[in-house]
Symmetry: C2
Subunit: 214 residues, 2 copies
């Protein structure tokens, strides 16, 4: 019975995700679902990309957290339209929450809507939010072995982005071992490397994104 | 109905957790449940503590991961008894898995059994594994705002351990802001700081642990 309940929830989520996708396609807005561990640098990367793409892409943000408005306040301070969703204990966002947020966003004034999902390498992987693009971040200080331990989230993203590359000299991190671990579950996904602090790789990531939105 | 199913699962977990606790009390083994984000340094800390406490505490380990034996292999290489549990996609360990692992461990030769839970700041908080001590790690590169965003896991641990303090000069991290965030949900929990790399704080943490096991 447990399994049947879980399947029903997922199938309801999938149908709502498809509705979100159709609505945003009609409004000509690309939806990006950003997944990562807590503290991998999701918010900082969104703000850095928004700055890189200023004048080229109009970006809005949906922030998912169990509690607080910490991230939404940072994003709003940068002048981007933002909705904060608090999951009140929930370990991932669901399509229903995105569907509810859409009417509160100025969709006609956006080209790209970025969802910052709850910091979680497990549960977020199972929920389609209606996104056109899924990007997984993995920060250098987390270590190079994460794809071995959390394989599912690396199976089908459109890109894997290694963040905080500026910390590489200060930690035991083997970039080739990380790449091999990603390749063990995903042969083709692009792996991009960025540091918001030094700016390394930001232009390449912005170009990658621009090519998929325009 | 969903809620009733969830409650039944939790109540079954609680009764198995109590059985684990009773069995380990009878065998005179203290059980520690170690919770953190992916890549916060759980395995490295276990190995560093085991070295600090060599000759004083006999330590065994249960490793929880979605997949792989990466962590168990590291622990076994250090000469500690270890069981690897793969959750096959599950976002947390449950008491049933600990109960199943106990007969495969040399309990008569152990003083302390450490569970390294799945890297997850959300789901792990809700499951009693029969532990006597619960410790939450939060690494410096994750940032100082995690208790605002993931409050539940900081509500009732026996200690909060800040790891990777050696990275503090290289990241934007405000130790006072982290402490204030912890205090917003938990007035009394001890906050200890360690760096496995430099050894800072390891002796204090080892003493704290020793006082609770002996």
């Amino acid at each position: 019975m447990e399994i049947r309940v879980a399947r029903n929830i997922l199938s309801l989520n999938d149908s709502l995700a498809n509705r979100v996708r159709a609505e945003l396609e009609r409004r000509d807005v690309v939806l990006l679902n950003l997944l990562a561990s807590p503290g991998a640098g999701k918010t900082s990367l969104i703000l850095a990309l928004a700055k890189c793409l200023e004048g080229q892409l109009r970006i809005g943000v949906i922030e998912g957290d169990l509690a607080s408005r910490v991230d939404a306040d940072r994003v709003a301070a940068a002048g981007l339209p933002v909705i904060q969703i608090n999951t009140e204990g929930g370990c991932h966002l669901e399509a229903r929450q995105i569907a509810d947020a859409l009417p509160r966003l100025p969709l006609d004034a956006l080209d790209l809507l970025i969802i910052e999902n709850v910091g979680n390498l497990v549960c977020t992987a199972s929920y389609d939010l209606g996104e056109d693009l899924r990007v997984v971040l993995a920060s250098v200080p987390e270590g190079h072995d994460k794809p071995w331990k959390y394989p599912k989230i690396f199976l089908e993203p459109d890109a894997v982005v290694v963040t905080k590359t500026d910390l590489e000299p200060h930690v035991d991190y083997d970039a080739a071992a990380f790449e091999a671990a990603v390749r063990s579950v995903n042969r083709d996904v692009p792996i991009l490397r960025v540091s918001v602090k030094t700016g390394e790789g930001l232009d390449s990531l912005a170009s990658w994104l621009l090519a998929r939105v325009r």
